[in-house]
Every structure is written in structure tokens, then in C-alpha cells.
């Protein structure tokens, strides 16, 4: 339940979506996962530019153990591949991020983005249709007006539920570089999109203009030393946002101070021991994700080997650091050669900000309880896919004698990476994307 401690939570397999393919089609690789604000809907985006939305079914008294399963609600093609002939640039259709808007009426709204274009999608239900038009017949063919002798009033008749997704806004041509983040503001009127060097502020109603609020492009590109890696609005203060960099720093900006927020209000950086510096230091310090806590008091950052929690009131170091897979430190050379060192892992808070979760390799994912300081490694695999099967904690053996249940570092499958996970806003339900499969786990009932 809400805010339960790690030792009380046993995670169970609930569902898995996707197929068991020997060779994974590139397009099927899941690239983003996001619950909406109530947890009723769960959206995924993939490399093929498609969005699939799952809806939680109503819990039934007859089957209490089924605890609301997620079924397909809607699916659509959000983005398509493009080729910018002017710049000779191939634009992938891969969905980088999906962010939900809070629900304000019967319809659901979400933002989806690829490298260049953000789109606002409206997902709505239709369960009635008008019948009895005067000027057209039931098939839609126009009737000859001269043949009409009487008028009738069209009526709404029930029909099979249809869920439609329509693109309501297309926010294009505002990013020279590749979009890595979008974030909806708490004012629900604006949102931001961030690329490697710039952040733009949009109004949902206006697609042909956006305000540039951060620009770190140097006058001379030879002087480029860092890029923006992620950005997010504060959950309550609509004037505040943060962005992270490839150098492992976070800047907090206040839009009230100036139109262009190039000067940060706060600068978060952990001092580095210069004697520890190596070729890999900067690469592994690059922040791949930044997330505000639900409370708005903390930010969490993910770099290659750790997850860190920062207090907004303390800029000089994080208040907590969690090792995700420190055993990879002695593998950095080969991880550099196979490009895995550049993998961008995300991180998430649970609803009460007491537990944080992030992915790793070999389809492992890790959870850290901030209160008890306990952590667990779990695995998303088809072998643990019996209904309500309790997930057994996994352990990586670093050296020496390997116990029976442990896996050695050299046996880890680095092609099975869990980059994207999501946590239900108020319950212990998590969604874990393992390449082309989506796993849903829940805590054990009773």
C-alpha cells in the first residue's frame, strides 16, 4: 500500500505485454513508459513511433486477486520517420518521451515527442452516434434534397465503444538539436521542451511560437563543453524548473528573474576528488535523467553508476547516493567499446517519495528504500511470469566464489537493458520496459 517499507513489500508478476521474439524488430523496442496522474492509464512509446495506451480495468469483487489488470485502450501512430533534405538530417520516429496532461474533462490528453516535433494527442471515447440525418443516408451518401418530403430530428443511439486518438496540436520547427525532454507545467497552460542546447517554453494553444528560456550554445562550437541532458518543471511552482548536464550538474532556474534563464538560481554539483579522475569520469557522471519528488522538495538524478537524491536547499552535494551497479566500474573499458557506457537510464519515485527505482542490465532493475536504506535487485523475465509469482531478489557476484543463485558480472547480458520504468502515482504497481516487452508488477495482496 501507500508508503509501505521495503521489507513489507513483496513484488509479484502481474502481466507482460509484447511477444517472445527470437530477433527483436527495431521498431518494437519500447522507448518510453508513463502512467497518467491517476494511474488509470499507462502509455508506452516505441522506436517505430507508435503509442499504446493501456487502461486499468475496474476491480471486481468476484476476482479480488486480479487487482485491476491493464488492457489495451488505444493505439496510434504518433510520429513517422522524416528526412530533412535541407539539412541532410534523418529524423527518427522514435518516441523519446510521453507526458500526460492532468485530466480536465472526459477526454485524455498527452504530449508525445520524437527528436524534433512535439504533438498533443487527444484520446476520447465515443459510445453514441447520431442517426437519422436528413441530408445524408445511413451510409453517409448525400441524398437528393428534392426527394426529401419530411424532416426528422437526428437522435443519438448507442454504439460499440470506440476510442479515438486525434492529434490536436503539432509543435514543430523549434529545435535545431535533438529533443530529450518534455515537461508539463503545473499551470497546465504551458510546457517545456529541451534539446541538447536549448529549452523552449510553449503555450498549449499556440503552435507557431515558443519562448526560448535556456540557450547554452556557445558562440564558437569548438568551445562546446557540455549539453543539456534532461529537464523538468517543479511539480507545484510554475516558475521553477531544473535541467541537468552531461557534466553531472543540475541547474535550477526561476522564470520570474528574467526572460532568458541562462543564469541559474541554484547550481547543484558534487565536488570531485581530482585524484580519482580518469578518462571515464566525465562520461559516467553525465546525468541521464532528473526527476522532482512528488513533494517538490528533492530532485533525483541518474548517472551511469549511481542514483542521487538532492535537497533543493543544498547545492554542494547530494543528500543520498545509491550504487546501482558499481561492479561495472571494472568493466568500463569494454562498456566504452560497445557503447553501453552511453546508455541513458531513467529513474522514478514511488508515490510517497520513500522508494526510488531504476534499471540496469540483464533485465535487472533496482529499488532503494530511502528510509530503511535497504535495496533489492529484481529481474523482468519470462521465466518469472507465472500469475502472481513472487519475484525473487537477484544478486550479482563480484568475484570469488559464486553462490548457486548468483550471477557473475561476466555473464550479464548487456543487450538486455532496462532503461525505462514507471511507478503508479499512488499504489505499488510498476511498469518495466524490457526491450520489446512491458512487464507489470504489483505488490502481493495479503
Amino acid at each position: 500500500g501507500f508508503g509501505s517499507l521495503m521489507q513489507d513489500v513483496l513484488w509479484c508478476f502481474s502481466q507482460v505485454k509484447g511477444t517472445i521474439d527470437v530477433g527483436v524488430t527495431e521498431a518494437d523496442v519500447i522507448s518510453t513508459v508513463e502512467f497518467n496522474h491517476t494511474g488509470e492509464l499507462l502509455a508506452t512509446g516505441d522506436k517505430g513511433g507508435r503509442v499504446v495506451i493501456f487502461q486499468r480495468e475496474q476491480e471486481s469483487k468476484n476476482q479480488p486477486h486480479r487487482r485491476g489488470e491493464y488492457n489495451v485502450y488505444s493505439t496510434f501512430q504518433s510520429h513517422e520517420p522524416e528526412f530533412d533534405y535541407l539539412k541532410s538530417l534523418e529524423i527518427e520516429e522514435k518516441i523519446n518521451k510521453i507526458r500526460w496532461l492532468p485530466q480536465q474533462n472526459a477526454a485524455y490528453f498527452l504530449l508525445s515527442t520524437n527528436d524534433k516535433t512535439v504533438k498533443l494527442w487527444k484520446v476520447s471515447e465515443r459510445d453514441k452516434r447520431p442517426e437519422g440525418y436528413n441530408l445524408k443516408d445511413e451510409d453517409g451518401r448525400l441524398r437528393d434534397p428534392s426527394m426529401i418530403t419530411m424532416l426528422r430530428v437526428p437522435v443519438l443511439r448507442p454504439m460499440d465503444l470506440m476510442v479515438e486518438a486525434t492529434p490536436r496540436r503539432v509543435f514543430a520547427n523549434a529545435h535545431t538539436y535533438h529533443i530529450n525532454s518534455i515537461s508539463v507545467n503545473s499551470d497546465y497552460e504551458t510546457y517545456m521542451s529541451a534539446d541538447d542546447l536549448r529549452i523552449n517554453l510553449w503555450n498549449f494553444e499556440i503552435t507557431n511560437q515558443s519562448f526560448n528560456i535556456v540557450d547554452i550554445k556557445p558562440a564558437n562550437m569548438e568551445e562546446l563543453t557540455e549539453v543539456i541532458t534532461a529537464a523538468e518543471f517543479h511539480p507545484h511552482h510554475c516558475n521553477t524548473f531544473v535541467y541537468s548536464s552531461s557534466k553531472g550538474t543540475i541547474r535550477l532556474c526561476d522564470m520570474r528573474t528574467s526572460a532568458l534563464c541562462d543564469r541559474h538560481a541554484k547550481f547543484f554539483e558534487e565536488p570531485e576528488d581530482p585524484s580519482n579522475r580518469s578518462f571515464f569520469s566525465e562520461i559516467i557522471s553525465s546525468i541521464s535523467d532528473v526527476k522532482f519528488s512528488h513533494s517538490g522538495r528533492f530532485i533525483m538524478t541518474r548517472d551511469y553508476l549511481t542514483v542521487k537524491v538532492w535537497d533543493l536547499n543544498m547545492e554542494n552535494r547530494p543528500i543520498e547516493t545509491y550504487q546501482v551497479h558499481d561492479y561495472l566500474r571494472s568493466k568500463l573499458c569494454s562498456l566504452y567499446e560497445n557503447d553501453c557506457i552511453f546508455d541513458k537510464f531513467e529513474c522514478v519515485w514511488n508515490g510517497s517519495d520513500s522508494v526510488i527505482m531504476t534499471g540496469s542490465y540483464n533485465n535487472f532493475f533496482r529499488m532503494f528504500d530511502r528510509n530503511t536504506k535497504r535495496d533489492v535487485t529484481l529481474e523482468a523475465s519470462r521465466e518469472n511470469s507465472k500469475p502472481r509469482a513472487i519475484l525473487k531478489p537477484r544478486k550479482v557476484c563480484v568475484g570469488g566464489k559464486r553462490r548457486k543463485d548468483e550471477i557473475s558480472v561476466d555473464s550479464l547480458d548487456f543487450s538486455k537493458k532496462i532503461l525505462h520504468t514507471a511507478w503508479h502515482p499512488s499504489e505499488n504497481i510498476i511498469a518495466v520496459a524490457a526491450t520489446n516487452n512491458l512487464y507489470i508488477f504489483q505488490d502481493k495482496v495479503n
Binding site: K17, T75, E92, H178, S278, S330
Partner: protein, 112 residues
Amino acid sequence: MSAENPESASAEEQKEMEDKVISPEKVEEAKLKARYPHLGQKPGGSDFLRKRLQKGQKYFDSGDYNMAKAKMKNKQLPTAAPDKTEVTGDHIPTPQDLPQRKPSLVASKLAG
């Protein structure tokens, strides 16, 4: 241990430890430098970042194109390698080379 604890050893003991133990990162760095002796001095700097910013770039610009054309005058036209995104200007784009990517009209298997 999931959360880091402050070093309990005194400063002297710590220095001694550090003198004796080489960090695993430095060992990995030595390995890499042995394999790629010409690797740049500023690893996190411009090379990586420029590669990141250039993602998706197929061909450079007309100057690059013309230089490549001049180079290729006496050689056979190389065939385009659709997956080589980093090298630009080395081969001449023809209409056949330009990507003919069709959007995936197949529904996602997650919805199946």
C-alpha cells in the same frame, strides 16, 4: 551498502590505502589507452558532444559534397551504406541513396 558512508579511516591511513590501491577506473583507463593510443585527451569534451549533436546527419554540405566529388572523379562511386551515420562527405548522395523509409504501418505488438 546502498547509501555511501563517510570514510572512517583517518586521513593518513587513507592516503596509504590510495597509494597501494589503484582504482578500478584507472585500471580500465590504462586498458583503453593501450588499445587506442591515439585517443583524445579531452574525452568528455567536444568529440563526444559533437558526435551526439550530429546524430542523424547523413551528408554534410555542398562544400563537402563538391570536395568529395572531386576526390571521386577517378574512382568508382562507392555504394551508400545506409547505417553509416558518422561519416559525412565521403560518398556522393544520389536519389537512390536517400532513405526511403516508410512509417511502420504495422500495429505495435504490445496491442496484440
